[in-house]
Subunit: 194 residues, 4 copies
Amino acid sequence: MEQALKIERAGRPRDARLDDAIVAATIELLEERGYNDMSLAAVAERAGTSTTAIYRRWKSKSELVAHAVFRTEGDDVVAETDNIAVDIASMVRWAAEKLARPAALAAVVGILGESRSERVARSTAAAMASKRVIDRLNRAKDRGEIRADVDTRVLASLIAGPVLNEVFAGGAAHVNERWIAELVSIVLDGVRPR
Amino acid sequence: MEQALKIERAGRPRDARLDDAIVAATIELLEERGYNDMSLAAVAERAGTSTTAIYRRWKSKSELVAHAVFRTEGDDVVAETDNIAVDIASMVRWAAEKLARPAALAAVVGILGESRSERVARSTAAAMASKRVIDRLNRAKDRGEIRADVDTRVLASLIAGPVLNEVFAGGAAHVNERWIAELVSIVLDGVRPR
Amino acid sequence: MEQALKIERAGRPRDARLDDAIVAATIELLEERGYNDMSLAAVAERAGTSTTAIYRRWKSKSELVAHAVFRTEGDDVVAETDNIAVDIASMVRWAAEKLARPAALAAVVGILGESRSERVARSTAAAMASKRVIDRLNRAKDRGEIRADVDTRVLASLIAGPVLNEVFAGGAAHVNERWIAELVSIVLDGVRPR
Amino acid sequence: MEQALKIERAGRPRDARLDDAIVAATIELLEERGYNDMSLAAVAERAGTSTTAIYRRWKSKSELVAHAVFRTEGDDVVAETDNIAVDIASMVRWAAEKLARPAALAAVVGILGESRSERVARSTAAAMASKRVIDRLNRAKDRGEIRADVDTRVLASLIAGPVLNEVFAGGAAHVNERWIAELVSIVLDGVRPR
DNA sequence: GAGTAACCGAGACGGTACGTCACGTCTTCTG
DNA sequence: CAGAAGACGTGACGTACCGTCTCGGTTACTC
């Protein structure tokens, strides 16, 4: 659909390589310097382009960062199996991969540092991701893999929450397979039918 | 110790009311505008003072914010009982009270936005808080209230983590007693001896 | 000569109406906003065309402005009579008509704002116009209408100069027939044979 | 009067040497590069200061330039004698000194390039200077040195106008004593009583 | 009547300057 | 010595314009 519109677009087309170069430079600099010390001028220089080209694509620094770090919207389709243990583990793993990078932390700083109204708009994305997780948990509940009296909203916050906690405490390093296994084990024991 | 020095300090003493006015203005503006859009000039104006007075007390904006939001360092002595269910609930409640305010979110932005070295220094505070939680959980494990094979570090992240998750998703509003009770119930089921 | 080349030019011919529309829009915007605040994008929009079409015709903004305001190069053939009083009056009148428009002032800004080398190139046009004036004055001197010891270069600057002065002082409004007559009267009294 | 107010001013006083350094750098760069190619960043660098310090003193680039080039408001008190020939010559000389510098031309570009409303405000300064000239001419007329039927407004434009003309034609070089003498001679012949 | 060359519009591109803002430091006067 | 006022340098932000370019599409002359 958007594709159809693009075909009819007039004017010089955007240089697609610039998009990639800008995003790559953004992530690099985010990891090297952190959010506040990353200037768009530096991003432009490293990407071999100009700040103008950046502002043509994103409205602000925080929007660029949010897109660069969390843009991969299609890849969150973690395989859904019939085994809730496997599913929860893979969701935790997915959250860990998303968040346990220095750039992710920097991106959160950018998003949360915005004025309230913009922030609310952006956080709907997080809300939607959360909704998908809850839906899946509900289906597992329907299948009887999860106890009927469990509030799946609370359960959902037990999946991403611990990862967030480690990231903010500065110890994302030890979020490894063992850590994930231990987490999943506790959570499953807490929700599986008795 | 610092108290002792203050007694013998020469010259005009600091106006103690300014401390409170500055902290109050900081929290207000943090909630109204977010971290980035809160300027120290605005804080000074609302507090009826000048930026000079602020910088005499705190080294930087992020330090002021960190102090204003998390300064209450003594009050975290949550009563320790013999009942781990009660203890975990009160720890979750404590985390929720600490974090489920708009200003807390803004403070995190300020701390995480700092350059890496400063951030590390400050996060030791969080680490220490975390250590106290883990110690308590270990004592409960020793008493047999928690299964012997549970990693208390992971368990600790199940206490503050979910709260963090709700805060960042923007929905700190529904972190109420029912939510906390549900959370504690799941976690306890997951860690209590079989 | 250029005309001859045009006849043999292949491809789609230029839309002659665009030339006029661009020039008209340029003058309008020059008068409304001044040189610096007139953007070529605005000119293009008002002329119902694009900046591309403008740059196909003129090399730069200042060149467009110079052409739009002073392009009428053929019309300066002020009738030369045997009466220097009439001639000087008509030259002053011509200068006034050329310069006493808001757009003329803006055009001067454009030309003088150019870097030195470009400016020199363009000012030869002014020099040539000046030369024609001086030649005419010299002929009047030869005929005895002007005192033999008058430096016609200085006299020439007494014709356009006062008009320029009024324009820059912002009071081009009162450069009317009475003003011109008074000016010519003084100058003639100063140069006619005693 | 303004002096009195200054005495009561609180805060760190402005560094007066910066004013001079900025003005000097402005004039230098104006002569080297012209108005458009002179950036405030370059001015700041050469003056050993920052653009912020410049904007604290002047509202815009054109205002800085206008002040730097034409600020010397007190020095225009050309000695008034009883001899109108001497006075006119000295006024022409004064105009020539003011205008026949590369920086003056650049300053005119800046002032005239502004949007109309700002320009009008500034040109009142020129109008006032003009008024002083006319007043003096009127006094000479009262003394009988100038013919009673001469319009002194037109006469005034015969003093600065020719200088302007030479400057814009690019030939300010030959505005020397001989040129001035010749100009004054013609003008005087045109206005002195018969 | 098919080719071709130059036009047209839209709009992206690099570059550069502008003017604003905040931070954290400093300098001065006043209490 | 604290406080208020306000200057200072640094450095980023986001906007605007210039002049160039690339694209799809159009129009006229030429073969």
